[in-house]
Symmetry: C2
Subunit: 176 residues, 2 copies
Protein backbone atom coordinates (compact mmCIF):
# COMPACT_ATOMS: atom_id res chain seq x y z
CA UNK A 1 0.00 0.00 0.00
CA UNK A 2 2.95 2.39 0.44
CA UNK A 3 4.58 2.12 -3.02
CA UNK A 4 2.16 4.25 -5.01
CA UNK A 5 3.03 7.68 -6.41
CA UNK A 6 4.25 10.51 -4.24
CA UNK A 7 1.37 12.95 -3.58
CA UNK A 8 1.58 16.60 -4.63
CA UNK A 9 0.88 19.14 -1.88
CA UNK A 10 -0.23 22.78 -1.97
CA UNK A 11 -0.37 24.91 1.19
CA UNK A 12 -3.76 26.65 1.53
CA UNK A 13 -3.45 28.25 4.99
CA UNK A 14 -0.82 28.55 7.74
CA UNK A 15 -2.48 28.84 11.17
CA UNK A 16 -0.74 29.14 14.54
CA UNK A 17 -1.19 25.49 15.49
CA UNK A 18 -1.69 23.73 12.14
CA UNK A 19 -1.33 24.05 8.35
CA UNK A 20 -4.00 23.29 5.74
CA UNK A 21 -2.74 21.48 2.63
CA UNK A 22 -4.40 20.25 -0.53
CA UNK A 23 -3.08 16.76 -1.28
CA UNK A 24 -3.48 15.22 -4.75
CA UNK A 25 -2.61 11.56 -4.79
CA UNK A 26 -2.77 8.56 -7.07
CA UNK A 27 -4.60 5.85 -5.13
CA UNK A 28 -3.45 2.21 -5.20
CA UNK A 29 -6.19 1.49 -7.77
CA UNK A 30 -4.74 4.12 -10.15
CA UNK A 31 -7.38 6.83 -9.73
CA UNK A 32 -6.36 10.38 -8.78
CA UNK A 33 -7.93 11.98 -5.73
CA UNK A 34 -7.65 15.39 -4.03
CA UNK A 35 -8.39 16.20 -0.42
CA UNK A 36 -7.78 19.06 2.00
CA UNK A 37 -5.76 17.86 4.98
CA UNK A 38 -4.95 19.49 8.34
CA UNK A 39 -1.21 19.06 9.07
CA UNK A 40 -0.27 18.92 12.74
CA UNK A 41 3.14 18.28 14.41
CA UNK A 42 1.78 15.51 16.65
CA UNK A 43 0.98 15.50 20.34
CA UNK A 44 1.32 13.58 23.59
CA UNK A 45 -1.08 12.52 26.34
CA UNK A 46 -0.01 11.40 29.81
CA UNK A 47 -1.58 9.12 32.47
CA UNK A 48 -0.18 10.56 35.73
CA UNK A 49 -0.32 7.81 38.39
CA UNK A 50 -0.12 9.22 41.94
CA UNK A 51 1.56 7.41 44.87
CA UNK A 52 -1.84 6.18 46.15
CA UNK A 53 -2.88 4.79 42.71
CA UNK A 54 -5.19 7.70 41.82
CA UNK A 55 -5.00 9.15 38.29
CA UNK A 56 -4.56 12.91 37.97
CA UNK A 57 -7.13 14.07 35.41
CA UNK A 58 -7.44 17.77 34.55
CA UNK A 59 -10.42 20.06 33.96
CA UNK A 60 -9.67 21.98 30.78
CA UNK A 61 -11.68 24.83 29.22
CA UNK A 62 -11.75 24.31 25.42
CA UNK A 63 -12.34 27.25 23.10
CA UNK A 64 -13.09 25.00 20.07
CA UNK A 65 -16.09 23.36 21.78
CA UNK A 66 -16.86 26.17 24.28
CA UNK A 67 -16.92 23.98 27.36
CA UNK A 68 -14.82 22.55 30.15
CA UNK A 69 -13.83 18.92 29.59
CA UNK A 70 -12.33 16.27 31.86
CA UNK A 71 -9.12 15.17 30.16
CA UNK A 72 -5.67 13.78 30.70
CA UNK A 73 -2.80 16.29 30.55
CA UNK A 74 -1.57 16.57 26.97
CA UNK A 75 0.11 18.91 24.54
CA UNK A 76 1.61 19.55 21.15
CA UNK A 77 5.18 18.67 20.13
CA UNK A 78 7.63 21.47 19.51
CA UNK A 79 9.66 21.12 16.27
CA UNK A 80 11.97 18.06 16.49
CA UNK A 81 11.06 17.42 20.13
CA UNK A 82 11.04 13.69 21.03
CA UNK A 83 7.53 12.79 22.26
CA UNK A 84 8.83 11.60 25.66
CA UNK A 85 10.32 15.07 26.28
CA UNK A 86 7.04 16.73 25.22
CA UNK A 87 5.30 14.46 27.72
CA UNK A 88 7.60 15.45 30.64
CA UNK A 89 7.30 19.14 29.72
CA UNK A 90 3.52 19.19 29.29
CA UNK A 91 2.91 17.17 32.48
CA UNK A 92 4.93 19.75 34.43
CA UNK A 93 3.38 22.77 32.66
CA UNK A 94 -0.23 21.61 32.99
CA UNK A 95 -0.30 19.82 36.38
CA UNK A 96 2.89 20.96 38.15
CA UNK A 97 4.07 17.34 38.50
CA UNK A 98 7.62 16.34 37.64
CA UNK A 99 8.00 12.62 36.95
CA UNK A 100 10.94 10.35 37.64
CA UNK A 101 9.49 7.41 35.66
CA UNK A 102 7.75 7.68 32.29
CA UNK A 103 6.99 4.87 29.84
CA UNK A 104 5.24 4.61 26.45
CA UNK A 105 1.69 3.20 26.53
CA UNK A 106 0.25 3.34 22.98
CA UNK A 107 0.07 5.52 19.84
CA UNK A 108 -2.79 6.49 17.56
CA UNK A 109 -4.11 9.01 14.99
CA UNK A 110 -6.70 11.52 16.18
CA UNK A 111 -8.88 11.96 13.08
CA UNK A 112 -7.11 10.37 10.10
CA UNK A 113 -9.85 11.29 7.60
CA UNK A 114 -8.83 14.96 7.68
CA UNK A 115 -5.99 15.40 10.20
CA UNK A 116 -2.52 13.79 10.40
CA UNK A 117 -2.15 14.42 14.17
CA UNK A 118 -0.41 11.43 15.77
CA UNK A 119 -0.84 10.97 19.51
CA UNK A 120 1.84 9.38 21.70
CA UNK A 121 0.50 8.16 25.08
CA UNK A 122 2.69 7.72 28.18
CA UNK A 123 2.30 6.58 31.78
CA UNK A 124 4.08 8.80 34.34
CA UNK A 125 4.92 7.60 37.89
CA UNK A 126 7.07 8.71 40.85
CA UNK A 127 5.58 12.17 40.67
CA UNK A 128 6.79 15.21 42.59
CA UNK A 129 4.26 18.03 43.03
CA UNK A 130 5.20 21.58 41.97
CA UNK A 131 3.71 24.65 40.32
CA UNK A 132 2.09 24.50 36.88
CA UNK A 133 3.18 26.98 34.18
CA UNK A 134 0.06 27.46 32.06
CA UNK A 135 0.26 29.06 28.60
CA UNK A 136 -1.86 32.07 27.65
CA UNK A 137 -5.43 30.91 27.06
CA UNK A 138 -5.06 27.72 29.12
CA UNK A 139 -7.54 27.27 31.99
CA UNK A 140 -6.60 24.00 33.65
CA UNK A 141 -7.04 22.55 37.15
CA UNK A 142 -5.99 19.16 38.52
CA UNK A 143 -8.75 16.62 39.26
CA UNK A 144 -7.36 13.41 40.83
CA UNK A 145 -9.67 10.36 40.81
CA UNK A 146 -9.52 6.80 42.13
CA UNK A 147 -9.72 3.95 39.59
CA UNK A 148 -13.33 3.25 40.61
CA UNK A 149 -14.30 6.93 40.27
CA UNK A 150 -12.57 6.92 36.86
CA UNK A 151 -14.48 3.80 35.78
CA UNK A 152 -17.76 5.44 36.83
CA UNK A 153 -16.89 8.66 34.93
CA UNK A 154 -15.92 6.73 31.77
CA UNK A 155 -19.01 4.52 31.81
CA UNK A 156 -21.40 7.43 32.36
CA UNK A 157 -20.04 9.53 29.49
CA UNK A 158 -18.34 12.22 31.60
CA UNK A 159 -15.06 11.86 29.69
CA UNK A 160 -15.77 13.23 26.21
CA UNK A 161 -12.27 13.83 24.90
CA UNK A 162 -11.26 11.06 22.49
CA UNK A 163 -7.51 10.97 23.28
CA UNK A 164 -8.30 10.71 27.01
CA UNK A 165 -11.01 8.11 26.44
CA UNK A 166 -8.71 5.94 24.24
CA UNK A 167 -5.75 6.28 26.59
CA UNK A 168 -7.63 5.70 29.87
CA UNK A 169 -9.59 2.70 28.53
CA UNK A 170 -6.34 1.27 27.10
CA UNK A 171 -4.59 1.78 30.46
CA UNK A 172 -7.43 0.13 32.40
CA UNK A 173 -7.59 -2.87 30.04
CA UNK A 174 -3.92 -3.56 29.37
CA UNK A 175 -1.97 -2.07 32.33
CA UNK A 176 -3.99 -3.15 35.39
CA UNK B 1 -18.44 28.26 32.56
CA UNK B 2 -20.98 28.88 29.76
CA UNK B 3 -22.17 32.39 30.66
CA UNK B 4 -19.17 34.41 29.44
CA UNK B 5 -19.25 36.64 26.35
CA UNK B 6 -20.24 35.36 22.94
CA UNK B 7 -17.10 34.75 20.82
CA UNK B 8 -16.51 36.61 17.54
CA UNK B 9 -15.80 34.40 14.51
CA UNK B 10 -14.06 35.10 11.21
CA UNK B 11 -13.98 32.52 8.39
CA UNK B 12 -10.42 31.98 7.10
CA UNK B 13 -10.91 29.06 4.68
CA UNK B 14 -13.81 26.94 3.36
CA UNK B 15 -12.61 23.42 2.47
CA UNK B 16 -14.70 20.55 1.11
CA UNK B 17 -15.01 18.76 4.45
CA UNK B 18 -14.38 21.50 7.03
CA UNK B 19 -14.17 25.27 7.60
CA UNK B 20 -11.33 27.15 9.34
CA UNK B 21 -12.46 29.96 11.67
CA UNK B 22 -10.61 32.42 13.85
CA UNK B 23 -12.40 32.61 17.21
CA UNK B 24 -11.80 35.51 19.60
CA UNK B 25 -13.30 34.92 23.00
CA UNK B 26 -13.33 36.41 26.46
CA UNK B 27 -12.26 33.64 28.84
CA UNK B 28 -14.00 33.09 32.21
CA UNK B 29 -11.11 34.94 33.91
CA UNK B 30 -11.77 38.07 31.76
CA UNK B 31 -8.78 37.81 29.41
CA UNK B 32 -9.29 37.85 25.63
CA UNK B 33 -7.89 34.99 23.56
CA UNK B 34 -7.82 34.15 19.82
CA UNK B 35 -7.43 30.74 18.25
CA UNK B 36 -7.87 29.16 14.82
CA UNK B 37 -10.45 26.36 14.98
CA UNK B 38 -11.42 23.64 12.47
CA UNK B 39 -15.24 23.52 12.18
CA UNK B 40 -16.70 20.12 11.30
CA UNK B 41 -20.35 18.97 11.04
CA UNK B 42 -19.79 15.95 13.33
CA UNK B 43 -19.53 12.27 12.54
CA UNK B 44 -20.63 8.79 13.52
CA UNK B 45 -18.86 5.50 14.19
CA UNK B 46 -20.57 2.11 14.27
CA UNK B 47 -19.79 -1.21 16.01
CA UNK B 48 -21.36 -3.78 13.63
CA UNK B 49 -22.05 -6.97 15.64
CA UNK B 50 -22.49 -10.03 13.38
CA UNK B 51 -24.84 -12.95 14.17
CA UNK B 52 -21.90 -15.05 15.51
CA UNK B 53 -20.66 -12.22 17.81
CA UNK B 54 -17.78 -11.13 15.56
CA UNK B 55 -17.24 -7.40 15.02
CA UNK B 56 -16.97 -6.19 11.42
CA UNK B 57 -13.92 -3.90 11.28
CA UNK B 58 -12.85 -2.30 8.00
CA UNK B 59 -9.47 -1.76 6.35
CA UNK B 60 -9.43 1.86 5.20
CA UNK B 61 -6.75 3.64 3.14
CA UNK B 62 -6.28 7.16 4.59
CA UNK B 63 -4.86 9.94 2.40
CA UNK B 64 -4.12 12.22 5.42
CA UNK B 65 -1.71 9.70 6.98
CA UNK B 66 -0.80 7.79 3.78
CA UNK B 67 -1.55 4.34 5.13
CA UNK B 68 -4.23 1.71 5.52
CA UNK B 69 -5.74 1.60 9.01
CA UNK B 70 -7.97 -0.91 10.78
CA UNK B 71 -11.07 1.04 11.81
CA UNK B 72 -14.76 0.81 12.53
CA UNK B 73 -17.10 2.00 9.77
CA UNK B 74 -17.76 5.71 10.21
CA UNK B 75 -18.67 8.85 8.33
CA UNK B 76 -19.55 12.52 8.36
CA UNK B 77 -23.04 13.91 8.98
CA UNK B 78 -24.86 15.57 6.11
CA UNK B 79 -26.47 18.94 6.98
CA UNK B 80 -29.28 18.45 9.55
CA UNK B 81 -28.99 14.65 9.38
CA UNK B 82 -29.76 12.97 12.73
CA UNK B 83 -26.65 10.97 13.77
CA UNK B 84 -28.59 7.68 13.91
CA UNK B 85 -29.53 8.11 10.21
CA UNK B 86 -25.90 8.92 9.33
CA UNK B 87 -24.93 5.72 11.12
CA UNK B 88 -27.40 3.54 9.15
CA UNK B 89 -26.34 5.20 5.87
CA UNK B 90 -22.57 4.96 6.45
CA UNK B 91 -22.78 1.35 7.68
CA UNK B 92 -24.56 0.40 4.45
CA UNK B 93 -22.27 2.50 2.19
CA UNK B 94 -19.01 1.29 3.71
CA UNK B 95 -19.72 -2.37 4.61
CA UNK B 96 -22.87 -3.26 2.65
CA UNK B 97 -24.70 -4.20 5.88
CA UNK B 98 -28.22 -2.97 6.57
CA UNK B 99 -29.13 -3.08 10.25
CA UNK B 100 -32.49 -3.74 11.86
CA UNK B 101 -31.32 -2.73 15.37
CA UNK B 102 -29.12 0.25 16.18
CA UNK B 103 -28.53 1.86 19.58
CA UNK B 104 -26.40 4.75 20.90
CA UNK B 105 -23.18 3.73 22.71
CA UNK B 106 -21.28 6.92 23.65
CA UNK B 107 -20.30 10.40 22.37
CA UNK B 108 -17.03 12.30 22.39
CA UNK B 109 -14.96 15.10 20.79
CA UNK B 110 -12.16 14.06 18.43
CA UNK B 111 -9.53 16.76 19.06
CA UNK B 112 -11.13 19.57 21.09
CA UNK B 113 -7.95 21.70 21.19
CA UNK B 114 -8.32 22.61 17.50
CA UNK B 115 -11.37 20.78 16.07
CA UNK B 116 -15.05 20.82 17.11
CA UNK B 117 -15.83 17.42 15.52
CA UNK B 118 -18.25 15.52 17.76
CA UNK B 119 -18.44 11.76 17.34
CA UNK B 120 -21.62 9.76 17.95
CA UNK B 121 -20.98 6.01 18.47
CA UNK B 122 -23.62 3.33 17.82
CA UNK B 123 -23.92 -0.46 18.09
CA UNK B 124 -25.63 -2.11 15.09
CA UNK B 125 -27.13 -5.62 15.26
CA UNK B 126 -29.44 -7.85 13.18
CA UNK B 127 -27.36 -7.17 10.09
CA UNK B 128 -28.28 -8.12 6.55
CA UNK B 129 -25.38 -8.36 4.06
CA UNK B 130 -25.54 -6.37 0.80
CA UNK B 131 -23.33 -4.38 -1.54
CA UNK B 132 -21.30 -1.40 -0.32
CA UNK B 133 -21.56 1.94 -2.19
CA UNK B 134 -18.14 3.54 -1.70
CA UNK B 135 -17.58 7.24 -2.40
CA UNK B 136 -14.86 8.46 -4.76
CA UNK B 137 -11.51 8.15 -3.02
CA UNK B 138 -12.69 5.52 -0.52
CA UNK B 139 -10.75 2.24 -0.46
CA UNK B 140 -12.46 0.09 2.13
CA UNK B 141 -12.77 -3.66 2.71
CA UNK B 142 -14.57 -5.56 5.49
CA UNK B 143 -12.43 -7.31 8.11
CA UNK B 144 -14.55 -9.28 10.62
CA UNK B 145 -12.82 -10.35 13.86
CA UNK B 146 -13.77 -12.38 16.94
CA UNK B 147 -13.73 -10.61 20.32
CA UNK B 148 -10.47 -12.36 21.25
CA UNK B 149 -8.83 -11.39 17.93
CA UNK B 150 -10.05 -7.83 18.55
CA UNK B 151 -8.58 -7.81 22.06
CA UNK B 152 -5.24 -9.01 20.69
CA UNK B 153 -5.28 -6.32 17.94
CA UNK B 154 -6.13 -3.57 20.43
CA UNK B 155 -3.50 -4.63 22.98
CA UNK B 156 -0.73 -4.93 20.37
CA UNK B 157 -1.31 -1.48 18.88
CA UNK B 158 -2.79 -2.61 15.55
CA UNK B 159 -5.79 -0.29 15.90
CA UNK B 160 -4.39 3.23 15.55
CA UNK B 161 -7.52 5.23 14.81
CA UNK B 162 -8.66 7.10 17.92
CA UNK B 163 -12.43 6.98 17.30
CA UNK B 164 -12.23 3.19 16.73
CA UNK B 165 -9.96 2.71 19.76
CA UNK B 166 -12.26 4.73 22.06
CA UNK B 167 -15.41 3.07 20.75
CA UNK B 168 -14.13 -0.54 20.76
CA UNK B 169 -12.56 -0.26 24.23
CA UNK B 170 -15.78 1.37 25.51
CA UNK B 171 -17.85 -1.43 23.95
CA UNK B 172 -15.63 -4.16 25.46
CA UNK B 173 -15.67 -2.58 28.95
CA UNK B 174 -19.29 -1.47 29.26
CA UNK B 175 -21.34 -3.63 26.85
CA UNK B 176 -19.96 -7.16 27.41
Amino acid sequence: MSQHNIPTRTTLLVAERFVIEKVTQQLPDGRTFSREVVRHPGAVVIVPVLEDGRICLIRNYRVAVEQELFELPAGTREANEPPIETARRELKEETGYECRTISPLCEFYMSPGILDERMFAFVARDLQAGSPALEKGELITNFPVTLSELDQMLGSGQIQDSKSLSTLLYYLRYCQ
